[in-house]
């Protein structure tokens, strides 16, 4: 994929190496976003299970955070 990049006030097409670096950053960012999403889902699941065990909301919050 081609990218336009800006160096100070100059805008130009990225070289192959520069474009590869941007693509790599996008892949890494997507992976991190998915990791955060999975973690949030795990916390929500744990919250539900702990509530089912009879823990109060305050107790669940003490364990998992707000």
């Amino acid at each position: 994929m081609t990218h336009r990049i800006q160096i100070d006030d100059e805008v130009r097409e990225a070289t192959r190496e520069e474009a590869a670096a941007i693509d790599s950053a996008h892949v890494a960012a997507a992976a991190q976003a998915q990791q955060e999403k999975d973690k949030a889902a795990s916390v929500a699941s744990a919250r539900t299970k702990l509530a089912a065990l009879g823990l109060t909301e305050a107790e669940v919050t003490a364990l998992l955070g707000a």
Binding site: R4, I5, Q6, D8, V11, A14, I22, A29, A30, A33
Partner: protein
């Protein structure tokens, strides 16, 4: 009343014969300009010179400031030209660019810097990453996030990452970045901290602090969205006076 205090601000009439005292009063009420403070001190009190007294003004070329004499010392009127924050550069982001590099941002003149980005838009919701120079490893940062609607807290981090990945945000109606950078041009570990608010459907505030763990001396940085492109807005770099 001081030696130079006036009791009136006179207006002379056409054809009026002025006395030496009136001419002196006229000549002495302007703001004299001196090359430096040494020339200023030599400009008063000598033979044929005005007596220095409270209220005297002077402009100092070497300092680019206006000073006033308090009766015992010279004081600067308003902030000194090099005090506080100094704007180093302002870079306007072009149309639909995938990254923006700002060169000559950091130097030995300042130890600490502030980077702000505001006014533009992103092609979609995206985190903004910050990379110093060409370094693609050794970035460590912790991000504390709170969702406005629920107050729920969450966290994210960079651990030996390729950049600081969430130090700003872009949406279809805004760009925000607000970062302090400590010592990027020193041969020391570089620190960062900052904060911003996200105006997305799952809106959150984000606080962060971290470091780039090496001793490289940087002069440039690059901002890259996690996806899509940036358009418009201005990246401003300020130096904190040492």
């Amino acid at each position: 009343m001081g030696a130079n205090a006036q009791t009136s601000v006179p207006t002379f009439t056409a054809g009026q014969v002025l006395t030496a005292a009136q001419m002196n009063e006229s000549a002495r009420t302007g703001v004299p300009v001196f090359a430096d403070t040494t020339a200023r001190d030599a400009g008063f009190g000598g033979a044929g010179e005005k007596t220095l007294a409270e209220g005297q003004l002077a402009y100092i070329e070497s300092l680019d400031v206006v000073q006033y004499y308090s009766g015992s010392s010279w004081l600067t009127l308003g902030p000194a030209a090099d005090s506080g924050l100094t704007l180093i550069s302002a870079t306007t982001i072009g149309s639909a660019v995938a990254s923006v590099t700002v060169n000559s941002a950091f130097s030995s003149t300042y130890d600490n810097y502030h980077i702000s980005l505001v006014g533009g838009v992103a092609s979609g919701n995206a985190d903004l990453s910050l990379q110093l120079g060409a370094t693609t490893s050794g970035y460590y940062c912790g991000y504390s996030q709170v969702t406005y609607s629920s107050g729920a807290a969450s966290a994210a981090s960079n651990n030996a990452a390729a950049s600081f990945t969430k130090v700003g945000v872009g949406t279809a109606d805004s760009l925000f970045m607000n970062v302090n950078v400590m010592g990027p041009n020193l041969a020391k570990v570089t620190g960062i901290n900052g904060a911003y608010g996200v105006n997305l459907p799952a809106s959150t505030s984000v606080l962060f602090a971290g470091m780039l763990y090496n001793t490289t001396q940087y002069t440039a940085f690059t901002i890259t969205p996690s996806s899509g492109t940036l358009t418009g807005g201005t990246i401003r770099v300020y130096g904190y006076k040492n």
